[in-house]
């Protein structure tokens, strides 16, 4: 009975999120777009996350290189290290790690912000004053998250590759030119494009979950905390689920 209740709860929430997404798309095509708020959110969500994402990306590139090096050295293919690290970062590590950091930082902040607005009834007040709160709060944030995460991932990839080059130069000597050409010679469109496209879905998932959790936050400060927390958890899980689906689709399309 307990199980069926939780299953029912899960299905209910899934349906609610689907409806919320439908509402988002409905509101998206309605006129009167809040451009100023969209750019402000882009700045807050994208630019302000760069330092964190850049740091994690740099460390990931460096650590991945140092971790892979002994194994490759054992097989005598140390020269393939740039190619391997490049493909790993561009295809998987860059998008997923950045999306997880993004979910932790932006998902929680959106959930908490909108949740606290809901709790303090600012959303109701906004509606009374004639502003469309969904359009102003949700659409701008979800769009900003959708479009900023790919940019963050690209920059994170670049910083990761730089970190990887430094990592190679800790133990050996490789010129940046050689590293650069080795990385790009081994990359194909099939590596870059699916990875780039899936980051839009990651960003959208993080934005929409954060907004949903905040928009339907329970009353009280406890509800705000819970909505922020569950926004992070659900969006992180969703990132992995989307990753799984995307890898299946790219496999079917023969891009792997």
């Amino acid at each position: 009975m307990e199980l069926s209740k939780s299953v029912r709860q899960f299905l209910l929430e899934t349906g609610d999120i689907a409806r919320f997404m439908g509402r988002f798309f409905h509101q998206l095509i309605k006129p009167r777009n809040e451009y100023a708020e969209f750019f402000r959110q882009c700045y807050v969500i994208g630019y302000n996350s760069l330092a964190l994402v850049g740091l994690t990306g740099f460390i990931m590139g460096l650590v991945l290189t140092l971790q892979l090096r002994p194994s490759l050295l054992r097989y005598g293919v140390e020269s393939q290290l740039p190619a391997m690290v490049g493909i790993a970062i561009v295809r998987e590590i860059g998008p997923v790690i950045t999306a997880l950091i993004f979910a932790g930082k932006i998902g929680s902040s959106i959930g908490a912000e909108i949740g606290s607005m809901k709790v303090t009834e600012q959303i109701d007040a906004m509606e009374v004053s004639g502003t469309n709160p969904f359009k102003y709060l949700v659409v701008t944030r979800v769009l900003a998250a959708t479009f900023m995460l790919p940019v963050l991932v690209l920059l994170s990839d670049a910083i990761s590759l730089y970190g990887s080059w430094l990592g190679i130069n800790i133990k050996g000597v490789t010129s940046f030119d050689l590293f650069f050409s080795q990385v790009f010679n081994n990359l194909a469109f099939g590596d870059v494009l699916p990875a780039f496209i899936k980051t839009f879905f990651f960003g959208f998932a993080v934005g929409i979950i954060g907004c949903y959790k905040g928009y339907y936050s329970n009353k009280g400060t406890e509800g705000v905390g819970r909505s922020a927390n569950s926004a992070v958890v659900v969006s992180s899980v969703l990132v992995f689920i989307i990753d799984l689906v995307v890898v299946q689709i790219t496999d079917l399309m023969g891009l792997n």
């Binding site: 994208g46 760069l50 670049a158």
Partner: protein, 336 residues
């Protein structure tokens, strides 16, 4: 409002740098795949592509010049590989260039190598089919290596047996351990050296003799070289020939005589016939001969008696002395 524009500027830089990286990424990949810039298509045919895939690199003398565009199966033994080549290479690749499928490194991805040929030929044009060269297949290499290995193992085994045989051979070790043998060998060697020196001298002498014979010195030389000697020899031969003729005549005469005798014998006439055929005359002859024998015996006795007779004894003694003197004279003259 001022703060807002600064934020927008930062956002602009952020987004622009992200997109710039994306563009660089895509451009670099596209450049490697020859999507930008002018290209042309070359074809080549193989019977086995060894896992070559579209997108694999094409190298001309080791330089990256393009990629594999498509792989078409023409028949079960002919596979056509379509390659996109940078148009700048059009003036370097000749029609008789040779293609082969190689590996990037020992275990890397497959590549198509185009190697120039030494013979002159016109430059390639779009859609030309290049000839394929001999394939260097890792499988083939390993197979050969395994064959070589087994041969080496066999040889090593045989060597081992030989070494064991050598190690267990007492005679060989005795020879090796013998301390006198080297001295003997050295002595033999010096003997051989002396012998060869003598042989050399001998050959020299022979050479001299041959030389002098050639120059007509000595009897052999004159025999071979002197013309007067040969004339004399010729005369002698002619004389011998004449002698032979006379002998022939003599033989003919003898023959005639013998024929006469034979005729006489057969006809029962003549002295010889009488001698041969008449048995009474034979008896007479025999008694005559016995009489003569008796007569000579009696005569011998008479002579012996005469020797001892005082009248003749002096003569006989004189005769003996003369004989002794003659013999001593002859001895003296023989030893000067």
């Amino acid at each position: 409002m001022k703060n807002n524009s600064v934020n927008n500027l930062k956002l602009g830089i952020f987004v622009a740098s992200g997109l710039l990286f994306l563009i660089i990424l895509l451009y670099m990949i596209g450049k490697n795949r020859n999507l930008f810039g002018a290209t042309f298509v070359l074809r080549t045919r193989f019977d086995n592509t060894y896992g070559l895939m579209p997108g694999n690199n094409v190298r001309f003398s080791g330089i990256q010049v393009g990629t594999v565009k498509r792989i078409n199966i023409i028949s079960d033994t002919v596979i056509e590989v379509e390659m996109i080549i940078d148009e700048k290479m059009l003036k370097y690749i000749h029609k008789n260039a040779v293609t082969e499928i190689g590996t990037d490194g020992l275990v890397g991805s497959k590549i198509v190598n185009i190697s120039p040929s030494r013979e002159p030929a016109p430059l390639v044009r779009e859609n030309d089919i290049l000839i394929r060269g001999k394939q260097v297949d890792t499988q083939e290499m390993l197979r050969t290596l395994s064959k070589t290995n087994s041969t080496i193992a066999f040889v090593a085994d045989e060597l081992k047996t030989t070494a064991i045989h050598i190690n267990h051979s007492r005679a060989l070790w005795r020879v090796l351990d013998d301390s006198i043998l080297p001295d003997n060998l050295r002595r033999s060697a010096s003997n051989i050296r002396l012998a060869t020196a003598k042989a050399y001298d001998m050959v020299n002498d022979l050479d001299q003799i041959v030389n002098s014979v050639k120059n007509g010195k000595g009897s052999l030389g004159s025999l071979l070289v002197d013309s007067t000697f040969s004339e004399k020899l010729n005369e002698a031969v002619v004389k011998i020939n004449n002698l032979g003729d006379s002998a022939n005549e003599l033989a003919a005469m003898l023959n005639m005589t013998a024929r006469d005798v034979k005729k006489e014998i057969n006809s029962g006439k003549g002295t010889l016939n009488y001698l041969l055929k008449d048995s009474s005359s034979v008896m007479k002859l025999q008694s005559t001969l016995t009489n003569i024998e008796k007569g000579t015996e009696a005569f011998n006795q008479n002579m012996e008696a005469l020797k001892h007779n005082f009248l003749f004894r002096g003569y006989f003694r004189k005769q003996e002395k003369k004989m002794a003197r003659d013999s001593t004279k002859a001895n003296l003259s023989r030893t000067p």
